[in-house]
């Protein structure tokens, strides 16, 4: 009941308010705003840009991720575990850090080479960087569970390698390819931070347009109508995605890694492996290294000036407080958000695994995943502006929003652990003399505790980096780190950009620490993606 109440108040109600404003602005049902959104040339351009950039981003990501997926799914080599871990790094980084890294890359080393890449190019590149892990992990994981013997059979029946790939491997990988493509498309279509910070005029997704309509044009109805269009489209996509993901579960029995993986046999194969690993590492590492380099670049030399000045509230700064205060705000908010998400998500996971009737909760719980953070932010802005719920300028509304964004991940992490509490373990403990409560203490808690640790780490990382909802709800004098980075990046001046990069590095380190701690806790074989 507690999670339901929390979700109803802080999630469902804002969405209802949003729908009310978008579909019935004056009390009576009126499709006017929604029709306007779909017919207005400017807004249609936004819809079109959203779709085509997501499509191109997805195709590019797929193409660049396949070599990595192949290596991870089919070959044994030294450092394989490290390679697998490194590929996930971009995915767990906050969007503002990714945006800052690509700003650093395109304004820095790539500027002389590719002066005209501009906003759209930067957006596409950042999307590839961000989503590479999704494809490598999903497809590589599926690949490593595919029995290689059908391929060997095809070869022995006279099929040349390209026909083996086309007629045997590809059809069996197709479900994973479709599922990961749909997921990447979803992430790119709802991309906010990256597009807001890297895109110029004419490069706005629906999310960014909502942000502009609400915060700059103060046109709430249009923003709400856009959010409604977006929500419907995203829910349709989520449905398609989960269908595709379900399909990939079906079919062949998975094989253990020692069957699927083998060492390279020829020099050509070794070269192919090296280039696949090289491409993946290059895409993953270069933007982050350049970000670190830029954060240390002061004038023509290097130094810690941008870091040193973080505890000063500069005059003329777009931030009203010292940036270090933003770090503190972020930590406090993320701690509260993580606690809330663990309680709500943990209880929800318990309820779900407890009875099959509560499976209906699935839809409600996965909604936050489908609802973009921006939609959530706008909805909360709308819902909590009148007494007795005049909470939109309370500081704690930020961690509440962050908790909602993190909750689905908590559920997804805790759920498998609860499912792994097999009945026979309970029975084994009982037969050995454990009373029912001893069973809970000795078996359930230790096993689930680990999953809660993992969920806490990821929830903390997500809350730290949360930008889409926070940007609507954070008060001017209480910015979080992502909000501060966005403000610095949006203001010209060497000092602003330098501090943005320095803050991005700090945020990157905080996130990476949380995720690394988590990685040590993780039960082998239970991924989060």
């Amino acid at each position: 009941m507690v999670p339901l109440g929390f979700l109803a108040l802080f999630f469902v109600w804002p969405l209802v308010e949003l729908f009310r404003l978008g579909l019935a602005p004056d009390g009576a049902p009126d499709l006017g705003p929604v029709v306007d959104v779909v017919t207005d040339p400017g807004l249609r351009a936004v819809l079109w840009f959203t779709v085509w950039q997501a499509t191109v981003s997805t195709v590019l990501t797929l193409a660049l991720a396949l070599p990595g997926a192949w290596v991870l799914g089919r070959r044994r080599f030294r450092g394989r575990a490290v390679f697998a871990a490194v590929t996930v790094v971009p995915f767990v980084l906050p969007t503002v850090v990714v945006a800052a890294a690509f700003r650093a890359l395109l304004d820095g080393p790539l500027d002389p080479v590719l002066p005209d890449v501009g906003g759209v190019g930067a957006i596409l590149a950042a999307h590839v960087f961000f989503n590479l892990a999704v494809v490598i992990r999903t497809v590589g994981g599926a690949w490593s569970r595919l029995d290689p013997r059908p391929e060997q059979a095809a070869a022995s029946l006279g099929a040349p390698p390209w026909r083996v790939a086309r007629e045997v491997t590809l059809p069996r990988l197709a479900p994973a390819l479709w599922a990961s493509s749909a997921l990447v498309f979803l992430f790119c279509a709802t991309s906010f931070g990256v597009v807001l910070l890297l895109g110029g005029p004419g490069a706005a997704t629906i999310e960014v347009e909502i942000h502009r309509q609400v915060l700059f044009l103060l046109d709430l109805p249009t923003g709400a109508a856009l959010a409604v269009v977006q929500l419907v489209a995203v829910l349709a996509l989520v449905l398609v995605q989960s269908r595709l993901a379900d399909r990939s579960v079906r079919g062949e029995a998975p094989v253990p890694p020692e069957v699927a993986l083998r060492s390279p046999r020829s020099r050509r194969e070794r070269a192919a492996m090296r280039s696949a690993i090289g491409v993946t590492m290059l895409i993953t590492a270069v933007p982050l290294l350049v970000l670190v380099e830029r954060s240390l670049r002061v004038g023509d030399g290097y130094g810690l000036r941008w870091f040193d000045e973080l505890d000063e509230s500069r005059r003329g700064s777009t931030l009203f407080v010292a940036p270090t205060e933003a770090v503190l705000n972020s930590l406090v908010a993320a701690l509260i958000a993580t606690t809330l998400a663990l309680i709500v998500g943990g209880l929800a996971a318990f309820a779900r695994s407890g009875s099959s009737e509560l499976r209906a909760l699935d839809a409600v719980l996965l909604l936050p995943l489908g609802t973009s953070a921006v939609t959530l932010g706008v909805g909360m802005l709308l819902a909590f502006d009148t007494a007795p719920f005049d909470w939109r300028s309370r500081w704690w509304i930020v961690p509440v929003a962050q908790a909602l964004v993190a909750t689905p991940f908590v559920v997804r992490t805790v759920q498998p652990a609860l499912a792994s509490l097999r009945r026979d373990l309970h029975e084994a403990a009982a037969v050995l003399g454990a009373s029912p409560w001893q069973v809970v203490r000795e078996v359930d808690l230790p096993i689930v505790g680990r999953a809660f640790g993992v969920a806490a780490g990821f929830g903390f990382a997500i809350s730290l980096g949360e930008f889409g909802a926070t940007v609507f709800l954070a008060r001017g004098d209480r910015p979080t780190v992502p909000v501060a980075i966005a403000r610095f990046l949006g203001t010209p001046g060497v000092a602003n950009v330098g501090q943005a990069f320095a803050l991005a590095v700090i945020l990157m380190v905080m996130t990476a620490t949380a995720v690394l701690v988590v990685d040590r806790l993780r039960v082998p074989g239970q991924g989060v993606l």
């Binding site: 097999r422 029975e427 084994a428 009982a430 050995l432 003399g433 096993i447």
Partner: protein, 327 residues
């Protein structure tokens, strides 16, 4: 040495919905006796075991240990050891943590637990492996840990559910001997559930055969083997030549024991022609077409048999056992 408990299963039934998995089974197991419950998969043998342990509610009947009715006694107070089919090791505890679990539940102090765990790891041949993680053990090692965990609290009655079920053949053979030794040394009462007659025959003093929830037979292995009594049991035990007795001047169905038949000289016994030869390591399985139908003969491997060759089958009269029990 543990003192074995006396187990009495009286008209026990277990139902799942409308299905009666165990239908009115009665059995007694004497202290220190090893009883195997043998039957094909789905015959209700695991359900019977779980009912004794208290993990399945009884739809009827009673379970008594040393004369005490266990109705209403919860699982964790029964003091019965149960080794699970898939071992059910606790993934979050190391080997010693698994083996010592029952002792901790019984409130033993730390030093005594450590001593007892060492003793048991010795017993199952895993000395010094207490700190290993259970998910890194091989199948055979997991089986040994599960056995040690079950035996650690020295229960008077131990139930083993397909103890060697998930292991490959070579390992089974080896662990079968070890298990037999351990069980014989303990003096505790043991009930082993298995679908494998080799396992049942090798370990048990008596074998109870279950079929579709009913008890078919309870007898020592030798008696069961030499006189299966019904066509179904003869086939289940892998004995070929379950045939109509009229060809041999008998009424009803008979078993012509392949282990008592021999290949004889021409002129002695039933004349026939070899239609199949299979090498089984310790014997050759020869199929011979005779006037009385096709008969399978277990012949020593040294005997040279040519496919399609003419042979005679001897010892038929001694080999015939009537199977007058219901099929």
């Amino acid at each position: 040495m543990t003192v074995g408990a006396h187990l009495e299963v009286a008209s026990v039934s277990v139902t799942y919905g409308d299905r009666r998995a165990v239908d009115g089974i009665s059995l007694t197991v004497e202290p220190g006796e090893v009883l195997a419950v043998l039957g094909p998969s789905g015959c209700g043998k695991s359900s019977l075991l779980r009912a004794v342990a208290g993990l399945e509610p009884l739809a009827g009947g009673a379970v008594r240990v040393d004369g005490l009715d266990l109705a209403g006694v919860p699982v964790h107070r029964r003091g019965i050891g149960l080794m699970f089919q898939e071992h059910a090791l606790f993934p979050h505890r190391d080997v010693a943590g698994n083996v010592g679990f029952g002792l901790r539940m019984a409130g033993w102090d730390r030093d005594r637990i450590a001593d007892r765990v060492t003793e048991l790891l010795d017993l199952v041949g895993l000395d010094g492996r207490g700190d290993d993680r259970v998910d890194q053990l091989s199948g055979g090692e997991r089986q040994r840990v599960a056995l040690a965990r079950t035996l650690a609290p020295a229960p008077g009655l131990v139930l083993l559910d397909e103890p060697l079920g998930s292991l490959d053949r070579a390992l089974r053979e080896r662990l079968l001997d070890d298990l037999g030794d351990i069980v014989a040394r303990l003096g505790t009462t043991v009930v082993i559930v298995t679908h494998d007659q080799t396992e049942a025959f090798a370990l048990a003093d008596r074998v109870a055969v279950l079929r579709e929830g009913h008890l078919v037979r309870v007898d020592p292995p030798r008696v069961l083997w030499s006189d299966p009594g019904s066509p179904w049991l003869a086939r289940f035990l892998g004995l070929a030549n379950v045939v109509d007795g009229s060809a041999f001047g008998r009424s009803g169905t008979v078993l012509v024991r392949p282990d008592r038949l021999r290949l004889a000289n021409i002129g002695d016994g039933l004349a026939g022609r070899v239609v199949g030869v299979g090498f089984r390591g310790d014997r050759s399985v020869v199929r011979v077409a005779t006037a009385a139908g096709e008969l399978t003969v277990w012949a020593p491997v040294e005997v040279d048999v040519a496919l399609d060759g003419a042979v005679n089958v001897g010892g038929v009269d001694d080999a015939i056992t009537s199977l007058d029990g219901p099929d």
